[in-house]
């Protein structure tokens, strides 16, 4: 019971100090990395915006491109893009939702896992491969068309739509499902009458996300819908001008006037994609809260 009090220093020293320094260094690396990512985003967005500003005018949106120089605008490409994406959505949405319904409501576990794997692999496939596929399927012998481009984009969108729909369907409370079944309603009628209406909003926002992704896709269109006349047309059996291919071809040209046009089109495309995906994400978060709570 002797009063030997070991000397305890409350100040960090030696090893502890080193550990703290290492910790501090690592923390600042993390912060720095996050700041860097945000900085890159800001730099890209502002440099596109700054360079695009001189190109933007009323005519830029309402005039078709002229054959020579910087006169004219991108109206025909806007219309073409809208048509192609519209058709792609019309193809991808029903199939995607059907797949999601099958996977969540009907499929045995094993099969569902297998199909899910296929969808995920499909999602990660280089989009230029999709382009080649549709080129071989629809373009050889028929020529390029907006229709072929839409099919290619639909293949890109399909896994995204079905994944989004699946997530929403899983959120539908099983009490609702069981209530329908308990009333003697058939499974299919339950899906149509109860589950789909409940998850409608979520599926819609998921689709908007897929549209935002498809709007910027260039590679699938390169082989299917890239050789076109610049004037305004709505004939979907012909190749139609579209924004991504326009940016791509103009960026490969040496002419600064065309670069100017490309910047303008890039700003329009980027604004559309960012606004669409941001608002869709906000909506998705809301509908998830509503269903989950």
């Amino acid at each position: 019971m002797s009063a030997v009090t070991p000397e305890i220093s409350l100040r960090p020293s030696g090893k502890l100090r080193r550990r703290r320094v290492v910790n501090r260094v690592m923390e600042s690396i993390g912060t720095f990395a996050a700041l860097l990512a945000v900085a890159v985003l800001v730099i890209v967005v502002t440099s596109v915006a700054v360079r695009a500003a001189p190109a933007l005018s009323w005519d830029f949106f309402t005039e078709p491109p002229s054959l020579f120089g910087a006169e004219g605008g991108i109206s025909s490409a806007l219309i073409g893009s809208a048509l192609i994406i519209g058709m792609a959505t019309a193809m991808a949405l029903p199939v995607g939702v059907l797949i999601a319904i099958y996977l969540t409501e009907f499929a045995p576990r094993r099969i569902a896992a297998g199909i899910q794997l296929v969808l995920d692999v499909l999602n990660g496939l280089p989009t230029i491969i999709t382009g080649i596929f549709v080129f071989g399927l629809l373009v050889i012998g028929h020529g390029q068309s907006a229709y072929a481009g839409a099919v290619a984009l639909a293949i890109v969108m399909l896994p995204l739509v079905s994944r989004a729909a699946q997530e929403v369907l899983l959120l539908v409370p099983s009490a609702l499902r069981e209530a329908g079944l308990a009333l003697g309603v058939s499974r299919w009628r339950t899906v149509l009458g109860i589950i789909l209406p409940t998850s409608f909003g979520g599926i819609l926002t998921g689709t908007v996300l897929a549209v935002a992704r498809a709007a910027g896709e260039t590679a699938p269109l390169l082989f299917t819908c890239s050789i076109f006349r610049p004037d305004v047309s709505t004939d979907v059996t012909q190749a139609l001008p579209n924004i991504p291919v326009l940016i791509f071809t103009y960026s490969e040209q040496p002419d600064p006037a065309l670069h100017q046009q490309a910047w303008g089109a890039a700003l329009v495309l980027m604004a559309f994609v960012l606004v669409a995906s941001l608002s869709a994400k906000a909506l998705l978060a809301r509908s998830r809260r509503k269903l989950g709570g």
Binding site: F32, A37, S47, L119, L125, T127, I129, L158, M270
Partner: protein, 292 residues
């Protein structure tokens, strides 16, 4: 229910069609195509090696830069960031992934490329020029290195957002346990979080790699185009997908077109393998999440 079958049929059809289109070249050049070093449309000699090399190097550059960055971002977002900032920065990083690749490519060719050519590349060449990879830069800044950087920008958000999800799923008790034992935050990350999520991180990296390997448009815009294998990462080159994108419309003969599609078939096989591997790892990991 047939819709689900359609997805499988679709994948099969893609496989079949691409190989079908490439068949003339496959018959003509056989497997020697993969190791052939020349690409000469005039003499009809085609070899894929320069493009396989370009694909490998540009993706490697992207992975080397992107992986530590993305993991650091994910750690910051999941462990360090103040609550208010967290959501904002998280969605900003995701916005980076939403920028269309053609826009990034435009930015790469007109802004990033010239900037690199004027500042970074000459400096690296001057000071580290004795290492062969830092060779003579091109005047416009188009080349493998620029392509690698653009790819980095594209895959950082992908890897970061997957890793962030993983890190958030590490049980809080384990993290708190480590902290309670006196570990610093970094020691907790290194001792608890990283080991617990190792295979998930690997899958995230492979998914990022898959994206980098297949990206066609942005790479075509900034890589410059070249058919020689060179150690110089500042020189022009081509990847499998960028070669297809750049040359397909100008292909003069049907055998050249077919050879380009052979490149596509190689790309398809690589893409399938990487994706499949990543998905299998993710799946093995999934049911165990939160368990141990």
């Amino acid at each position: 229910m047939a819709a689900a079958l359609a997805a499988i049929v679709l994948l099969g059809a893609i496989l079949w069609k691409v190989f079908d289109l490439a068949w003339p070249a496959i018959q003509e050049y056989g497997l020697g195509f993969i190791t052939g070093e020349t690409w000469d449309p005039v003499r009809k000699i085609f070899g894929a090696l320069p493009f396989i090399y370009g694909t490998a190097v540009s993706s490697l550059i992207a992975l080397v830069i992107a992986t530590p960055l993305a993991i650091a971002i994910a750690l910051w977002l999941s462990e360090l960031a103040p609550r208010g900032v967290r959501g904002v920065v998280g969605s900003l990083v995701e916005m980076l992934a939403a920028i269309p690749s053609v826009v990034l490519g435009l930015w790469g060719i007109l802004v990033l490329g010239p900037f690199l050519a004027a500042h970074l590349e000459p400096w690296l060449h001057e000071h580290l020029g004795f290492i062969p990879i830092f060779g003579v830069p091109t005047a416009t800044g188009t080349g493998l290195f620029t392509a690698g950087l653009i790819l980095t920008i594209m895959i950082v958000p992908i890897i970061a957002s997957i890793c962030r999800e993983l890190f958030l799923q590490v049980p809080t008790e384990l993290e708190e346990g480590a902290l309670a034992l006196g570990a610093t935050r970094w020691e907790m990350v290194r001792g608890v979080i990283l080991p617990a999520t190792r295979s998930g991180i690997a899958a995230a990296i492979i998914l990022g790699l898959g994206r980098a390997l297949g990206e066609a448009i942005a790479v075509t815009q900034v890589i410059g185009g070249g058919t020689k294998i060179s150690a110089n990462i500042f020189g022009p080159a081509d990847t499998l997908s960028s070669k297809i994108a750049a040359s397909f419309q100008g292909a003069a003969t049907s055998i050249e077109q077919s050879a380009l599609l052979y490149l596509g078939a190689i790309l398809l096989v690589i893409g399938l393998v990487t994706n499949f591997a990543a998905q299998v790892i993710v799946r093995r990991f999934d049911p165990l999440r939160g368990g141990r």
